[in-house]
């Protein structure tokens, strides 16, 4: 794959990859197609392109964490990443996620899904296979999905305090039926202590913290641990 920006010009591979990385941060997803349209199959491996996209998203995530990128801007970065993935798929490139599967959704009783959607974008850009169940998701749908996908992690979200009981209920049932699954929670009414009190393994205050917290709770999965099982 080469990158003929100008006819006859040989552009260093690193510069091409830098362009791809930068377009992830450009806050203008429409530019992605333009950049990809100039890529020529053959000189760049899809993994390299995806790697550059991921590097761009990693920078965006750092900026979000540091307050240098706002949530609206970060949403546009996610859009750019997804468009890039779409372009790769269009070129029949293999872009399958390499990390664990994560089932995610907003618990029943809540329809606010922006936070969850941002986390989905962050996880996808970090290489996880994400099964997004959407919003207002009943408990049984989570349980079915864990059964179907054999995911290692369940991520639950709510922006309201009223569905916290539903969140607790989902966690209790996952403990009973899928004791090996790790559970991460997030959302406005939660903090670390409340997350622990309803039985979650991890809590992420913001989307930028999610990959680190996922790694932490999955690392616990890799070694024998006592898994609290709800009674009753």
């Amino acid at each position: 794959m080469h990158f003929p920006l100008e006819e006859g010009e040989t552009v260093a591979k690193s510069k091409i990859l830098k362009n791809i990385e930068e377009v992830m941060l450009a806050r203008n997803p429409a530019q992605v197609e333009k950049v990809f349209s100039k890529l020529d199959a053959g000189s760049l491996a899809p993994e390299e392109i995806l790697g550059a996209m991921t590097a761009g998203m990693e920078k965006a995530r750092s900026q979000l964490k540091e307050g240098k990128c706002s949530i609206p801007e970060f949403l546009l970065c996610i859009d750019a990443f997804r468009r890039g993935v779409g372009q790769l798929k269009k070129a029949n490139a293999q872009v399958a996620a390499k990390k664990d599967a994560v089932v995610i959704g907003v618990v029943e009783g809540d329809v606010h899904d922006m936070g969850k959607n941002i986390v989905v974008g962050v996880l996808e850009a970090s290489g996880y296979r994400v099964i997004d169940l959407g919003k207002d998701v009943p408990r049984d749908r989570f349980l079915e999905s864990l059964e179907e996908t054999k995911a290692s992690l369940l991520a639950l979200s709510t922006m309201m305090s009223t569905p916290l009981e539903n969140m607790r209920d989902v966690i209790e049932w996952v403990r009973r039926l899928h004791p090996g699954v790790r559970i991460l929670v997030g959302g406005a009414p939660l903090d670390e202590r409340l997350a622990r009190s309803i039985g979650a393994d991890g809590y992420a205050e913001g989307a930028a913290d999610v990959p680190g917290e996922v790694e932490r709770v999955l690392a616990r999965l890799a070694r024998p641990v006592d898994i609290p099982v709800a009674s009753g």
């Binding site: 949530i71 606010h112 009414p189």
Partner: protein, 370 residues
């Protein structure tokens, strides 16, 4: 409490000074207490409010949908909450869908939760729809008129015993209910002119809404500007898009002699930008602002500019023991209450479905440590 803005500043300071002096040997009324702290003088004790809204419906078993749509039922809930738990300030807040509902947004009224907009069926479906948002005939609104009725009833029933505060969601917030926050956020970056156009139209109606609330005799009115925080827009973009409109709303409230409060439960909220835009008398907050790392810094930087209302965390109210909540209250009182200008309160509405135990803890802490 009389409309503070209608009285000359020196008179208010004199009244507050007398109240502060009286407060050293006798209990003040809730109204005196709030007036004194609003003038940045120390009352007999820190004023407190549990911001009990839908949580108070538990006392009389009023269903959520009735609370959210019927002024009489809501007033019963608020009054029973006040009689049961107390409060130097009663903030009338239904939910964030009130204004959007009257702009045609479909709203879901669950039996066991707060009313919320149906984002699967937004009024603003595409960018071109922003320009179709027009001011509405306020006399024909349903939920806003009902909310005004609630203000009127509450002022009549409790207006001499506590401070009654009204509420309005800022135009960008209303628009987020009609578009979905995620789509709106993208549009704010990509199509700011379109978003501003819709905000402008919504603001025309919101001005009538706040005028009507002010006419009921409420003493203060809170503008919710949630997106002036890191949960929302970048500071400069917020000031460009919503800032001018909340300024208009705040001016209208002040013109009516009513105190302006800002409510913003976002993370790293922009105290500076909101003060620039609205020049509020008070800010109710759940988290520290973006330019302060500690509550001490917050008090030093903003304590003489606005009355601080907050900021007991919602999760603590859900999981904390009464003693833990009281300890948190004491810590905040110790840092924020010096020289007045502070009202002890949760960072946001008291969680509607939890027991009222920790609402009592807040009031008890004010009495014991305030």
């Amino acid at each position: 409490m009389p409309p503070l803005g209608s009285l000359p500043e020196p008179l208010l300071d004199a009244v507050a000074g007398i109240s502060s002096a009286r407060g050293r040997w006798t209990s003040l009324t809730a109204i005196e207490r709030v007036l004194t702290t609003f003038r940045h003088k120390e009352p007999d004790r820190v004023p407190a409010t549990p911001i009990l809204g839908a949580g108070a419906r538990q006392i009389k078993g009023i269903p959520f949908p009735d609370f959210a749509t019927k002024a009489e039922k809501a007033a019963d809930a608020y009054c029973s909450g006040f009689e049961f738990v107390g409060g130097d300030l009663v903030v009338l807040l239904w939910d964030l869908s009130v204004e959007a509902a009257d702009f045609g947004q479909k709203v879901i009224y669950p039996e066991n939760s707060t009313a919320m907009c149906d984002y699967n069926d937004p009024v603003v479906k595409e960018v071109g729809d922003y320009r179709k948002v027009k001011p509405i005939d306020f006399s024909q609104t349903v939920r806003m008129q009902e909310f005004v009725k609630l203000c009127r009833i509450m002022v009549k029933r409790l207006g001499l015993r506590t401070v009654i505060g009204g509420f309005v969601f800022g135009p960008l917030g209303v628009l987020s209910m009609m578009r979905g926050a995620e789509r709106l956020f993208r549009d704010c970056v990509l199509y700011p002119k379109e978003v501003r156009k819709a905000c402008e139209a919504i603001t025309r109606t919101l001005i009538e809404f706040v005028q009507a609330q002010c006419e009921t005799g409420v003493s203060a009115l809170a503008i919710d500007s949630l997106y002036a925080s890191r949960n929302g827009l970048a500071k400069q973009l917020w000031e460009e898009i919503e800032g001018p409109f909340v300024r208009e709303i705040a001016r209208e409230i002040k013109k009516n002699g009513v105190s302006v409060a800002v409510h913003n439960c976002g993370h790293d909220l922009y105290f500076d930008a909101q003060i620039r835009s609205m020049e509020p008398d008070a800010i109710s907050f759940a988290h520290l602002p973006d330019d302060c790392r500690t509550p001490k810094e917050l008090k030093e930087r903003y304590g003489d500019q606005v009355t601080l209302i907050g900021y007991i965390p919602t999760p603590l109210l859900v999981t904390g023991t009464p003693q833990e909540v009281m300890t948190a209250c004491r810590e905040q009182i110790d840092v924020l209450a010096r020289d007045g200008g502070y009202i002890l309160a949760p960072g946001c509405e008291y969680p509607p479905n939890i027991p009222l135990t920790n609402a009592f803890s807040i009031m008890k802490a004010a009495e014991k440590y305030g």
